[in-house]
Symmetry: C2
Subunit: 701 residues, 2 copies
């Protein structure tokens, strides 16, 4: 994989042109596709006919949504007003045929076929869901040039590689409002994802209304939670778009918020209030080792697995929640329970002895087994994070693999024991990795059920979460839909940033909220240059910032601090960086005047950045944090312009000059304000006239 990738990086411009598939802007790429010259031309007389069960409301709603999207994008004002089961004219511009009416079920047939000729578009699917997936492809096939709007002549056979293609959103650490969830659902739909997994409870908040145990939300949250009607509305919004909503209630750890209202469920009497369980000695600075030790040795608030009343409570709640969430899956968390609270309780220790549990992990297995049986009783399958895996785990249970340090054989072990695997290891969006890192993550050889991108929200909130998830989640969506032969990262970025604009156009707030946050950050000073700087910054990767946050004084903690620093705003994988990389690559390869001008123009603008933003840095504390990046960007831009002059004149730079610049580059790698300058590899390439290979992964700590 690594060699292949490097080759592609080097051949980027040729690769992009050679790939007909890429030129079509489809994402995820279909299983198979053949194209020919020619167009199906769109015009106001464009009509749609549907052969489907006339009670297939989901199908007709989707057809009309697609039709209106095409209408809006083309501005053609189609004369057909809407499409109903009466529209069956076989000479319509688009004829859709659906064999079987069906809602979304994991493992079902989601395949479809599209044939575009100059005369007609045909979409066929065995199921309604397949047809929905195909409609997204039709939207993405819409193209335009001087001749107007059209679909290219193409033959597509498509089906997903994996059955489970999810997005997990943590709505506990920061509450994420319904409209944000719906916008994420719209974006997921465009990328053919089919599972929205909501992490509904954690130490910091219980986010769904229980009518039976109302203190769960009233005491267990800051008043921000979903009412049951809102959940019902969300579930149906998702369902008609072919997405199931899987609820997660994390237990027996990560559960402080439950105990705020019901302390009797916990090992200790409390009182409890929702919030981070980390009670640190702020006086000493925290390093990863020290934090690991704290994680392993702190008696975090935990359910008492020995009380029958606990199981009675859970049985009732699971009964209520499985009714609220119709999906046939129920996630019980079961992660990061270090067992310390249990070991400290003499009653629990006695219980373990009595039952011959040698470790707290065995006790957790007992707890999981009992909870899993309740979930089964309510007709659902249990899911848990990989710590719930044990020798005697019921084969019915789905295991979501995530732990970064888990042994390489874990997936194999789970699969060979007969449990389905959902893979999230390698797909944590909150690790702040570039999309290509997720994209190139090697999937296990074993047959897994699928995967989930995961967005935890210790340092993400309603305003910036869309900028954290999108467009990178599109790369992960493709990973789990498309064939494993699709692995060209430069074509990935080309398509990903096109899709990103389409999502923006469709109402996703990632770009709008980024602009909004940059405007606030610029505090009335130079917005354009503030944006130009922010456009090439990127948050420090891995857990660095989260660890730093945990060790900060209260008001800086992720519970109450406003997320307004550069590290909260900057793109994880900035499009401007990849645009610059494309231009630099082209310039170094071809020395074409166009690429030279593009690179020089960009460097000229950056070279003035520090001068332009001085007043901002001098007066605004959040800006002051990143002043060094602006200085470095400007200084290195001037150096790069010199390097280009050297290249042009054929004059060789002196050894001392090169040494000085390498030193400058090295020092520019620093972390200031928890952000890094993302264009250093490209600047280094200009200076040294050679691209260093991109790292395939980055350390988490």
């Amino acid at each position: 994989m690594r060699t292949f990738f490097l080759l592609l990086i080097i051949c980027i411009s040729t690769a992009a042109n050679a790939q007909v598939t890429g030129a079509l802007n489809l994402m995820p790429l279909p299983k198979s596709m053949t194209t020919q010259n020619g167009h199906f031309t769109m015009n106001p007389g464009f009509t749609v006919a549907v052969h489907a069960d006339q009670t297939d409301t989901m199908c007709f709603l989707a057809v009309n949504r697609m039709f209106q999207t095409l209408n809006r994008r083309t501005g053609l004002f189609f004369t057909q007003e809407n499409i109903s089961s009466k529209d069956k004219n076989d000479s319509a511009g688009l004829v859709i045929t659906v064999k079987n009416k069906s809602g979304m079920k994991i493992g079902m047939d989601e395949s479809y076929r599209i044939q575009v000729s100059t005369r007609q578009i045909r979409l066929e699917a065995n199921t309604t869901i397949g047809a929905l997936r195909g409609m997204q492809t039709i939207i993405q096939l819409l193209s335009n040039d001087e001749s107007g709007f059209y679909l290219p002549i193409v033959n597509i056979e498509d089906a997903p590689r994996y059955a489970w293609r999810g997005l997990m959103i943590d709505v506990s650490r920061h509450f994420i409002p319904m409209d944000v969830l719906k916008r994420n659902l719209d974006a997921m739909t465009a990328l053919k994802m089919n599972v929205l997994h909501l992490h509904l409870s954690d130490d910091q908040g219980f986010r769904v209304e229980s009518k039976i145990f109302p203190k769960l939300q009233s005491e267990g949250s800051n008043g921000e939670y979903y009412k049951q009607e809102e959940i019902t509305d969300l579930v149906s919004y998702a369902a008609i778009r072919g997405v199931i909503v899987v609820p997660e209630f994390d237990m027996p750890g990560h559960s402080t918020s439950w105990f705020a209202g019901y302390p009797e469920l916990a090992t200790k009497p409390g009182p409890y209030k929702p919030g981070s369980p980390y009670k640190l000695d702020r006086s000493e600075s925290l390093n990863p080792m020290k934090l690991m030790q704290i994680i392993q040795t702190t008696p975090f608030p935990t359910f008492d697995p020995t009380k029958e009343s606990v199981y009675k409570f859970l049985d009732t709640l699971i009964g209520e929640m499985t009714t609220l969430f119709p999906a046939p899956y129920f996630h019980i968390g079961a992660d990061e329970n270090n067992g310390v609270a249990w070991k400290q309780d003499s009653g629990i220790v006695q219980f373990m002895r009595k039952n011959n549990f040698a470790t707290t992990h065995e006790l957790q297995a007992y707890f999981v087994d009992r909870v899993q049986k309740m979930v089964t009783k309510y007709g659902k399958k249990t899911i848990g994070w990989d710590e719930l895996f044990s020798k005697n785990l019921s084969k019915e249970v789905l295991v979501q693999v995530w732990t970064p340090m888990s042994p390489p054989g874990l997936v194999k072990q789970i699969v060979s024991q007969g449990n389905p695997v959902i893979l999230s290891k390698g797909f944590y969006l909150d690790h702040f990795m570039p999309a290509y890192v997720h994209y190139n993550y090697e999937l296990p050889a074993e047959e897994i059920l699928g995967g989930e991108a995961a967005q935890w929200t210790e340092i993400a909130d309603a305003e910036n979460i869309e900028t954290r998830i999108w467009p990178r989640a599109a790369a992960i969506a493709e990973k789990f839909w498309s064939s494993n032969t699709v692995a060209d990262p430069m074509d990935l970025y080309r398509r990903m940033f096109i899709i990103s604009k389409q999502l923006h156009e469709g109402g996703l707030q990632h770009i709008s909220n980024y602009d909004r946050m940059v405007l606030r950050f610029s505090s009335g000073y130079n917005y354009q240059d503030t944006k130009r700087l922010m456009d090439v910054l990127t948050p420090v990767k891995g857990y660095k910032r989260l660890f730093a946050l945990i060790s900060m004084p209260t008001s800086f903690s992720y519970q109450s601090a406003p997320l307004i620093r550069a590290a909260d705003i900057a793109w994880v994988d900035p499009s401007e960086k990849w645009k610059f990389r494309k231009n630099v690559t082209e310039f170094l390869q071809t020395k074409s005047p166009a690429s030279e001008m593009a690179v020089r123009d960009q460097l000229m603008v950056w070279s003035k950045n520090y001068d332009q933003l001085k007043p901002l840095f001098e007066s605004t504390p959040v800006a002051k944090e990143i002043v060094q990046h602006s200085k470095n960007l400007s200084a290195l831009s001037i150096v790069c312009l010199q390097a280009m002059d050297f290249l042009k004149t054929g004059k060789k730079p002196g050894e001392q000059w090169l040494k000085d610049q390498q030193k400058l580059l090295e020092s520019a790698k620093g972390n200031y304000g928890d952000v890094e300058l993302s264009v250093l590899p490209e600047m280094n390439a200009l200076i040294s006239q050679n691209f260093a290979p991109l790292p395939m992964s980055y350390p988490l700590f």
Copy 2:
């Protein structure tokens, strides 16, 4: 007023500098204010103390919202985490004192006093609502410069001029989702507005759930309506922000949607379905006279005022709805009932004879009287549009004056009869008038209750409605809050566009959705230049476009057509126009190099617009509509650059040259694609070296 205004236009630059009030960016401007040199400096140790009833949740929620806004804007990460009734330290940075806990009631004391010294900010109010208004002023007082963030030393005494300061949103013609309403409420709060009036029913849709008569929403809408819990949530969202929500159910006309489910309420048996009642002969083109005739002679679907069953139905529904909406007002519409449906019904004619009703207006007065008595029974005051006014109207009824052709004495007549007046005449946002036209509209000499900006949605939807309402509604908000001596339009624009950015930063989507729509409009071509063109276009004023829409074929009708044309996107009152005007004014007055450069740079960019956008115009139908504006903008920019050369060299342009340019200017005034070029007066000023007076009003037809 006119002369005063013209003077100010001419003195713009000096006026702006001289006005200390203006320099403070407050909107609406307070009643009285004295400033001194000096600052209260904000720093991380900034704290807030509150002296208020400890059960005054509304107050504490507002204080914490304000505190977090200050925290986000300054990026200072205040050490105080949140403010509760325990925070009473009199040496806090901000001390808030509230005498009486109170919710919003029309006519209440909304006054407040703010004193800022170098040591402390003090906010005092007699009521919670007054304190809320003052907190918005504190947010607006926040300033920053090279010394950091601060509040200027100032003494403010403030109270509203009018008790009723509302915004009406029509959610029937196009459904407006809850999140859009909440964003509008946030913006209203910033401008100290206190009434959100929802036009919940009209021919095109009944938009609120009735549990007693569910066919109202199920048959009377396209499935888009508010559930009762959503209304309750909205009402409480508004209430804690000091805004009441007034529902309007329009009757006896404008009521087709009711009859879809309950045809027995109407004069004719139906069947009915929600939609525009205009059934026009599309073959002949429509002119205003013809339309007037249609409006006056068509038997539009209308309630039957003679049936007791109708009153029984209404009594039950009003009982249900007055419970759902706790505000003590209930709007019954009563506008635009031409009486034709009544005259065509022999039973009704007989009823009129029997009761000695000489006109259908008298019959409507009877209907209104009966409905008003029910409203009274449920403890509410009735509101109606001015057509409901009649000699014997109960003095309890509030009259909302709107009709453009109403006699000048109407307000006087209503007031002298003892009915309170809400003024919307002059404040229809959907007339596409610039803010200064609303701002300079002369208020009646009589004592009125207040006014309402009104946004009808025949040609506005969830995506563009925020661009239609904001920031112009801010000018109207100031009109009804501030003293009538505040009438400087250039300072209005200066402050209005600052507030506009703050609303954007706070989450309003007017700027984001504009960008989104322009991106879609640019169809993958040159976004920047598409935006530059769109930035100086403005929809045709008055009812021109609505009339054109009504006469168009079905699929172009406002019920189903996508709102994606330039006329749906372009700002009604573009900031770029006023920026250009400021620069041109300064240049003509001072010939300063800075102003000359600003004007020239802008003209240079515009001069290339047509060349830049040719590929877009050639391929995209919605863009093709406005190609002539781009040609004119580019051609006139070149002419303006020549004019500036003449000015600089002292060379006089030839008479023929001037004539040619006047001809070009004249032809550029054309309506293409239902938009106009907004910068023609400024271009004319450059060419003729003289500003023509701005029109104080524009024709509606």
